[in-house]
């Protein structure tokens, strides 16, 4: 059998560069995106693009230069955000976005470090790191995009899947109740806890830009539609249908007790800014308690 193979073209760097530059810069927010990466890989109707736009808009509003910001993300659909942003971003191993970002925050206290990751990354495999970073009050801005399942690997049940929800690994319904993320973050010691859905992009931008002003561990949960992994088995419809559901069923209650903000399938979603308090952050405590004492007592290497 004779096969006709396509002739191999030598690599043409100029043509490739032109292809990458083509179409970049048409949108005003393209200045924050790497050229050639848009369109992104997320499904039509996915809410991750809204969360990314809200973050970029918050940066734009605060007028931070991109070399003062850094984004760390883990594995999953949300982890791709680090690849799309044109700044110093890190795509770390599964669940280890927060330890990596902690190191970065301690080495470079002048940076605004955002951890952008999904619920499976931050609360399933990285749950331990998350609660301890909140306890230490490291200066991190955590944005957790919650879509109630592991979207990238095929819609398996995760720690945030509500009870009785169907996923590809729980076809008869989930027997475990899901995590209440704002309550967990608040109980672990986060100083700023908010939850918005992708139907509330303005409030989300406001929350993100507010969290940039806080010094300490802030946590913002973004509830995003996942039409393929979570919407289809649970008959929630496509992304637009899920957005309509957020419009009808979300209830803004600022300052509510995060303990009451549990999410159930086809039930109302409490959104709002739940917690905003002040607490000395890790570096401040470390400088005041350890470094100052060591310098005063001439002990240790710091003296």
């Amino acid at each position: 059998m004779k096969r006709h193979l396509r002739e191999l073209q030598p690599f043409n760097k100029e043509a490739e560069d032109k292809h990458i530059r083509e179409g970049h810069g048409l949108h005003p927010l393209d200045a924050y995106l790497k050229p050639g990466r848009i369109p992104h890989i997320w499904c039509p109707g996915c809410g991750l693009g809204v969360a990314l736009t809200a973050y970029i808009e918050a940066l734009h509003r605060k007028k931070f230069p991109v070399d003062q910001c850094s984004v760390v993300s883990g594995i999953g659909c949300t982890g791709r955000i680090a690849g799309y942003l044109d700044m110093d971003t890190y795509h770390t191993t599964h669940g280890r976005a927060i330890p990596f970002a902690t190191g970065l925050a301690l080495a470079r206290p002048d940076l605004h470090i955002t951890v952008f990751s999904g619920d499976g990354d931050l609360f399933a495999i990285g749950g331990n790191h998350m609660i301890h970073a909140a306890r230490r009050n490291v200066n991190l801005k955590v944005i957790c995009v919650n879509n109630f399942n592991y979207g990238m690997t095929g819609g398996q049940a995760g720690p945030t899947t509500p009870i009785d929800a169907k996923t590809s690994t729980t076809p008869m319904g989930n027997a475990e109740p899901g995590f209440n993320l704002p309550h967990l973050a608040h109980a672990s010691g986060a100083i700023y806890v908010a939850r918005w859905t992708t139907f509330h992009p303005r409030q989300l931008v406001h929350s993100i830009s507010e969290s940039f002003d806080r010094k300490g561990f802030t946590f913002i949960e973004v509830i995003a539609p996942c039409p393929i992994g979570y919407g289809r088995p649970n008959k929630l419809g496509d992304g637009l249908e899920e957005m309509r559901y957020y419009r009808e069923m979300s209830e803004v209650r600022n300052g509510a007790d995060p303990g009451t903000a549990e999410i159930r399938l086809r039930d109302k979603i409490l959104v709002g800014k739940f917690v905003d308090k002040e607490r000395p952050d890790f570096l401040e405590n470390y400088n005041n308690l350890v470094i100052a004492k060591a310098q005063a007592g001439k002990k240790g290497r710091a003296a």
């Binding site: 179409g23 005003p28 736009t53 809200a54 992708t198 496509d238």
Partner: protein, 112 residues
């Protein structure tokens, strides 16, 4: 409800007049902008883009765009944005439009 005259301070206020820009080949047809535009400026077009989705297009009331920027924020694909063209003066027509739009129940999205 009808206003029988223009508000007395209408000279000192203006309505921002925006222009919607759509980058059609980035659109994946999720329909968020069409559904959530507060002034109903967008609708789904019958054409296809390069990826085979139906991008949004402007409807006749496109003059109603007030540069609120919600479509920019809610678009997951960086495919739509608004630009402030010019502020325009308030006319009786605008007052009539606004009062009729917000005084009756918006039935656009309620399914039969």
């Amino acid at each position: 409800m009808r206003f029988w005259r223009l508000p007395l301070d209408s000279e000192s206020h203006s309505i921002p007049h925006g222009m919607v820009h759509i980058i059609e080949n980035r659109c994946k047809g999720c329909g968020f902008c069409i559904e959530f535009c507060p002034n109903g400026c967008l609708k789904q077009s019958k054409r296809f883009n390069a990826k085979g989705y139906h991008p949004p297009e402007l409807v006749l009331q496109a003059d109603d765009c007030v540069d609120c920027g919600l479509c920019t924020l809610i678009c997951p694909e960086f495919a739509i944005f608004t630009e402030l063209k010019a502020p325009k003066k308030i006319t009786e027509e605008d007052i009539r439009k606004v009062t009729t739009r917000y005084s009756r129940k918006d039935t656009r999205f309620i399914k039969p």
